[in-house]
Amino acid sequence: MDQPLPSPDLSARSPDQPASVPARYCYDDDFRKLVPVLVVWETTLACNLKCQHCGSRAGRPRPDELSTDEALDLVDRLAALGTREISLIGGEAYLRKDWVEIIRRCRSHGIRTAVQTGARNLTDRRLDDAVEAGLQAIGISIDGLPDLHDRVRGVPGSYDQAISALRRAKERGLAVSVNTQIGPETPDHLPELMDRIIEAGATHWQIQFTVAMGNAVDNPDLLLQPHRLLDVMPLLARLYREGLDRGLLMVVGNNVGYYGPYEHIWRGLGDDRMHWSGCAAGQIGIGIEADGTLKGCPSLATSLYAAGNIREMSVEDIWRHADRMQFGRLRSVDELWGYCRTCYYADICRAGCTWTSESLLGKRGNNPYCHYRVLDLARHGLRERVVKIKDAPNEAFAIGEFALIQEPIPGADSPGLPERDPATVHRHAYERSPEGGVVPPSLTLCRGCNQYIWPHETGCPHCGADVAAAAAQHEIDSARRRALIRETQRLLDEARAAKQSAAKQSVAPLPG
């Protein structure tokens, strides 16, 4: 803790990045220069909810949580490394007495600061204190309509408290969002839940699947079966579109995967140049446990990914050099297995969210929560489900093990998957920067079928289209749309100017 602070390298941020771009949008140079853009910090494991799916088994504080001085020093060191956004989580972040001091220190460095909360007993006083310290945003976890939410969260009345906190945070000018975990009962709740959170003032809604970790291993009935993506993903796409028209932007979490028919719509929030490009743990993100343990992502299993503790090593050394932090920078397609090993997207997707796949199957590199995969299997009459075979230890971020069962879809013709040679999977030429970072590759969107393809493709492997011809037609269509937008905006601007001019004339004093 007595080492000098490193100098911040602010050059990583794109020079043409406007102020309105989200702080957590990461650019190529962030990867090259190893900037820990995002930090998710479990400030305490103390919690006042009893969530049946809690991966960290939160409840009591850890016995050796960071002191205030240690926490504030940690903020300074993250700022020096270039961190742009910190989410305080728990447990429940506001059960730490110094949580407002932590917020204030984050804001003193210009770091965007948000809190993710279950919002039980998030009183007006707590909200006022946080706002006064500079808190900018709050995410409230709501997992369904009242009965389901209260049951999953383990406390009667917690839904009402969450909605109340949403309204009160909105009244205080905070940016307000909702995080919803999807389990088997959740999909039926989503349309009405969307109505309710819009009415309460939410502008953003993050969706993610419940992951087999901690308490969720004890309660495996809370896990969505992978084959249900067949009906859940179209529902999410419908709600994404409806939300756009109603002022609610759905943000799909990084375990809602991958490259299916909706990837170009939602991953980039309408900007179809953006797509899933692999787990970013330890590349542009850090997770912190309340005792100062660092991981590449807050949700990864402690037993496998604890890269070091800030009481024993500097943050910078753990970030740059610890083996367990570097795995994402070093891994290759060779570590994938099962379906993911022969997938068209293998060398960019890397089996999606590491937390999800490793927690579920005990080994990263194969992820059944993938829409592209589920659709491919369904075309061949197959589906996948998971069955628990091993409990998780009674520890925070502990994993058990589930068996992955592939079976014929009941009543369907099941020819089975064709043989696919792993040697034919495309390998991207990754380059490591002097700092040790690697930039994820970018795919091209086939304008014939709106599926992503590797840039070298001339014929779309999905639909067979001539990629260049489809792109040319798309450019023509796009130019026409943009001309229409410009002309409509010009007319509206003229109308607005005329209205303002008339209003000025009507209030001008009469001559003479």
């Binding site: 043409d16 989200p22 993710q116 993050q206 932007l249 980039g268 929030l269 992502c297």
Partner: protein, 64 residues
Amino acid sequence: MSNAHVPHPRPMYMATMTEAIAGGDLSTMKQVAAEAEQHLAAYGDVSGLLQLLKVEIAKAEAKG
């Protein structure tokens, strides 16, 4: 076109990126269309009123 400045959005398990706004042509067209509809609503149905005016003008002129 270079993608060097295309961001890689990273929604980890954390508070949602509330600064994000939807982009792309579809979103922009919907936004502009909504503005146009507001404009039309503010100014009423000018086209319909014009037709009524023309009918009344024609009727008045016919009466001499």
